[in-house]
Amino acid sequence: MTRRRVAMPGLVGSMAWWMARWIAIAVLLVAWEGLARSGLVTPFMLPSLSVVLARIWSDALSGDLLQNLWLTLYRALAGFAIAAGAGTALGVLIARNRFIRWFFDPLISVGFPMPKIAFLPIIALWLGYNDASKMTMVVFDSIFPVVTAAIAGTLAVEKELLWSARNMGASERQLLWEIVLPAALPQVLTGLQVALPIALIVSIVAEMTMGGAGLGSAMMVASRFADSPGVFAGITEIAVAGYCLVKCMALLRRRLLLWHQEALAPATA
């Protein structure tokens, strides 16, 4: 017998809220167009929505949009993947090993509030003006939230879960892979959710600084040429890309943590 999911209470309520949001956004877009056309601001300061959309469309048609988007995403996601893997491994290690924890604690504590983007010129000096340096910057910036989340998640694993597994004969290695990692997963995923937007924006800033095509680079070029529609198109494209990434990540989280999310659903029996 398979159990069917009970409909979330207030489903109608949450749908109405969702619609209200999109209505509000639609109103905003209309206001944008209205303001731009009203003559209160110059087309340079605020190009009208229609002009910006037309620009995005023409970029899409010429293939520029796709190419820039692909480059930015490639750098961001490659760096993110490395930060995710290395960061999780490092975090678990730090949580479990006293010496490693002692060594990395000040590094993390000092590193977190630092504007790490300041290190970009140094990375560029070492690795050149290319994808590698951009990706390195992405890794450097986005690894911090992953590590702290992995540490917290690993430390929070209930002792009784580990004892139950050992009770049933699990070895140390099995404990790590079969118990610690799944138990820490919710928190690790939260860290990844924080790290993803960071990865995107660092990739863009690196492009703005170093050039080399991509959304950030294209926006900077537009800015230098006083190409106002281009700049606004860039902002819109980045916002949409960011939004989609965040949504994908949230969906992934829901999928992976089916058992966790269920805790929010009303219990029966």
Binding site: M1, T2, R3, E158, E160, L161, W163, S164, A165, R166, N167, M168, G169, A170, Q174, E178, I179, P182, A183, L185, L258, W259, H260, E262, A263, A265, A267, T268, A269
Partner: protein
């Protein structure tokens, strides 16, 4: 009843860690608790106890008396410092499937379904696949969770979670069952139901059971003998025989039962007051 007898015949193919004798001998055990922060505390002081095979023992005492600590020492989760604990003649060297443990907060793996939780221990035992599935299902049926095999723990009520946890531990067929206030997190009605169910299961397949509780009535009802422990540092204050005819449904009303509860409560009360006083001091 028939299902379980059929299971017992199948045991031949199962790898057993401890065969036959499951006497537990606790010899002059002391345990020092060293927290990462703060002073170290003597949790147990020179505790000696002998538990016969297939006996049902309750460890009773106020909070902080070290009863759970003693359980964890028997289970091999904590290392014995002073003194020794041996099971079936062999000293305890670490956790193992011969001493199954059930925790107060269930400790079910939240990312696994009920069935997967139960299968976990069976996989570790190295049973062949068909055998694993069969055993898992039979224990699910045994604790009355048929129909919920594919649910996640977060979808279950407290009583159901505890039944799943018990099924998981029973499935690996341990000779000794360690239970750490297993019904403490349940509401009173569920607790009563679970107590009867536990007795029923125990009577069908006798194991040595060490049951930690602070509920006197629960201890007297379930156990053959009740070990009353003193307030911290834990010592054995008294051991009282509490064997009753548990099949008698009016047992709770009999004078003998009520007198027994009184007797033990008097023993516990002083210790409870001492423990309370100590808490007030340190607050």
């Amino acid at each position: 009843m028939m299902r379980y007898s059929a299971l017992r015949g199948q045991r031949a193919g199962v790898r057993r860690i401890v065969s036959g004798n499951s006497n537990i001998v606790i010899d002059k055990v002391s345990h020092l608790y060293r927290p990462s922060r703060g002073r170290e505390v003597l949790a147990l002081d020179d505790v000696s106890l002998e538990i016969r095979g297939q006996e049902f023992i309750a460890l009773l005492g106020p909070s902080g008396c070290g009863k759970s600590t003693l359980l964890y020492l028997i289970g091999g989760f904590l290392a014995t410092g002073k003194g020794s604990i041996s099971v079936g003649g062999k000293p305890v060297a670490g956790p193992g499937p011969d001493r199954g443990i059930v925790f107060q907060h269930f400790a079910l793996f939240p990312w696994k379904t009920v069935r997967a939780n139960i299968l976990y221990g069976l996989e570790k035992l190295g049973l062949p696949r068909a055998e694993r599935e069969r055993r898992a299902q039979s224990f699910i049926d045994l604790v009355g969770l048929r129909g919920f095999e594919d649910s996640y723990p977060s979808q279950l009520s407290g009583g159901m979670k505890q039944r799943a946890a018990i099924a998981r531990t029973l499935a690996i067929d341990p000779a000794i069952l360690l239970m750490d206030e297993p019904f403490g997190a349940l509401d009173a009605q569920t607790r009563n139901l679970m107590q009867s169910e536990l007795l029923a299961i125990w009577q069908r397949s006798p194991k040595t059971v060490i049951f930690v509780t602070h509920d006197v009535r629960e201890a007297v009802y379930l156990a053959d003998r009740v070990v009353v422990m003193s307030a911290r540092p834990g010592r054995v204050k008294a051991i009282v025989d509490t064997k009753f005819d548990r099949s008698d449904s009016d047992i709770f009303k009999t004078k003998a039962f009520i007198d027994k509860i009184d007797e033990i409560w008097c023993l516990v009360r002083d210790e409870a007051l001492k423990a309370q006083a100590r808490e007030d001091e340190s607050a």
